[in-house]
């Protein structure tokens, strides 16, 4: 446990050394959130769309933005670049489980991400006149599902990164992944608003567990058994992807070619 906590701490410290870089990233992210709020404010001035009124949409957008922020400070690029530049070689000579080690580094961003999310929530409350908050029961369900977002997003990023072992290129794979996740998680627009041919795949893919599930729990759209079912699906995806990643990793190692010295 200790070495993994050590990795997490080191990762946080590294992110903090790039404060300016992070700040610019967060300013970009905040701009996107403000833009979405403005667009939906205009769209909803005539009345609710797909069951979302302005107050609910505000909360939805905040949850969507928060779940998108989880894991973004560390950046999948770090993980991929270690494979390209050959540093994976030194990682492999350490007495650590490779997947847990990368997960720990990934979690190193949580501190800054939570700060950013808190700031965004405060800003919304201040400038748009309040925010819908769930009751204690729903809040607890939401908190659990929000925590599950971290390992879920990690495994998706980790599996994407392993594509590099075969493609020798990360940019394309990474963009494709980001686009798919954004669309099918509900981070772009609520899944209920998607046309049927997109809503179908969204329902069976793991990405809905990233945004749609926490949002449904936060807004009280899913309660009781339905809420527990959503959490179970989310947890099941974490386990399936975590162990699936292990299988892929074993095959990826055979394909690994470390370039240079």
């Amino acid at each position: 446990m200790k070495p993994y906590l050590g990795l997490l701490r080191m990762s946080t410290r590294r992110i903090l050394t790039y404060r300016l870089n992070s700040l610019i990233l967060w300013i970009g992210g905040a701009t996107f959130l403000a833009g979405s709020l403005a667009v939906w404010h205009a769209l909803l001035s005539e009345g609710a769309i797909g069951g979302y009124d302005w107050d609910q949409m505000k909360a939805y957008l905040l949850v969507g933005w928060a779940t998108a922020s989880i894991g973004s400070a560390y950046g999948d690029w770090w993980m991929a670049s270690r494979i390209f530049d050959g540093h994976v070689a030194t990682d492999l000579t350490k007495p650590l489980d490779y997947q847990w080690a990368r997960f720990s580094e990934h979690m190193g961003g949580l501190a800054t991400e939570f700060i950013a999310i808190t700031i965004a929530a405060t800003a919304i409350v201040t400038f748009t006149g309040g925010l819908v908050v769930p009751g204690p029961g729903q809040a607890l369900l939401f908190a659990v599902s929000f925590l599950l977002v971290a390992p879920l997003k990690f495994t998706i990023a980790y599996i994407t990164t392993m594509a590099c072992f075969w493609t020798q290129n990360f940019m394309g794979v990474s963009w494709a992944k980001d686009a798919i996740v954004t669309l099918f998680s509900g981070a772009l627009i609520p899944l209920a608003l998607l046309p049927a041919w997109l809503a179908g795949p969204a329902a069976v893919l793991p990405f809905a567990s990233i945004t749609a599930t926490p949002a449904a729990l936060y807004l009280g759209q899913a309660t009781g058994w339905e809420a527990l079912r959503l959490l179970a699906v989310q947890a099941a995806w974490v386990l399936v992807l975590w162990w699936g990643a292990r299988l892929i990793w074993r095959r990826a190692l055979r394909a690994l070619t470390v370039h240079g010295g």
Binding site: T17, H87, L96
Partner: protein
């Protein structure tokens, strides 16, 4: 069983076969062709505990690939590896505790953080006690001058400093076996000397050492055994002294003569031998083939002509020897 054992160790890489230019790249997209390339080809190697082995070969010979196979980073295409009884690429975690690895061309330090932080993380990784950690840092400070480097962010270290810090990182947990891949690459002479001195001490501590290099200066005084590979194949494996004996035919003797003597006069007395005048009229250098003449015969021949004051025999330079081995002149 030896500490490190490789049997028929082979690694084949697939290289994309692309025609040049954009056309070639596009063609490769639809019709992928690969050429197989044997980077390591049937290497047999046994290393006993406490041995120090120099693994030598020209660029691209397969040295780094061998190290990556022995350390469990790469999976062999064929053949087997055992290190302290474990198979490195399957028992990666077990193996990792036995070994220390340095890749001279890349660092394991956290680039954006002070060296001290990277070492503290390694302390946690290898579960070192605070007392042991402190003692190791002191020892590494003695031989590597580590203390000055601890507070410095790794990115700001010079190449030589970085190599010293990286050596410390590789050796912090006092591994049984140490693999060093080009530990002096790019270093200037004074830093090189310091690293070599450190390697000698490491050997005296009883650490098993495998060192790859294409700088043969790294080897003398550090390794008693040399393995030479070329194009993935082993072409010599034996004691350094034996290699010199077997392959170094040409020897050079410098003589200080009692009175000025022309080189030609000595050459007359010593046929088949090259005699060259030195900087002063009383100095000559005699170059002879060890297989046809002994040093004694040369001295006797010179003494027939003139008294000898001082004499000095050059050690055969391993550079020359290995160069010939590379050139294929001295295949067994």
């Amino acid at each position: 069983m030896s500490l490190v054992e490789a049997r028929g160790l082979t690694k084949i890489f697939r290289r994309p076969e692309k025609d040049p230019g954009l056309r070639g790249s596009l063609k490769h997209l639809v019709q992928r062709r690969f050429k197989e390339f044997r980077a390591v080809d049937g290497i047999e190697l046994s290393i006993e505990a406490g041995e120090s082995v120099a693994y030598v070969g020209p660029n691209g010979a397969g040295k780094s690939t061998t190290i990556k196979l022995l350390t469990g980073i790469l999976v062999p295409t064929a053949g087997t590896v055992r290190v302290a009884g474990a198979e490195p690429h399957t028992d990666r975690m077990v193996n990792a505790r036995n070994i220390g690895v340095l890749f001279g061309q890349r660092t394991q330090l956290w680039w954006d953080l002070p060296v001290r932080e990277s070492l503290a993380l390694l302390r946690d990784m290898y579960d070192l006690s605070p007392a042991f950690y402190k003692q190791r840092l002191e020892r590494l400070d003695e031989v590597l001058g580590l203390a000055d480097l601890l507070p410095v962010v790794a990115r700001k270290l010079s190449l030589g400093q970085r190599m010293r810090a990286d050596l410390a990182a590789a050796l912090l947990h006092q591994p049984k076996i140490v693999y060093l891949d080009e530990p002096t690459i790019g270093l200037d002479i004074s830093v090189k000397d310091r690293v070599r001195q450190f390697l000698r001490e490491l050997r005296e501590d009883g650490t098993t050492l495998m060192l790859t290099t294409h700088d043969l200066g790294d080897i003398e005084d550090v390794c008693e055994r040399i393995v030479i590979i070329d194009e993935g194949r082993k072409i010599f494996d034996g004691p350094l002294a034996q290699m010199k004996d077997r392959f170094a035919r040409v020897r050079r003797m410098h003589l200080q003569l009692a009175e000025p003597t022309p080189a030609e006069k000595l050459a007359e007395r010593l046929p088949d031998v090259e005699v060259i005048a030195g900087d002063s009229p009383t100095e000559v250098t005699v170059t002879f083939d060890r297989f046809t003449h002994t040093a004694g015969q040369i001295i006797a021949g010179v003494l027939d002509v003139v008294e000898v004051g001082e004499l000095h025999l050059d050690e055969p330079a391993i550079e020359d020897v290995v160069r010939k081995v590379y050139a294929g002149e001295l295949l067994r």
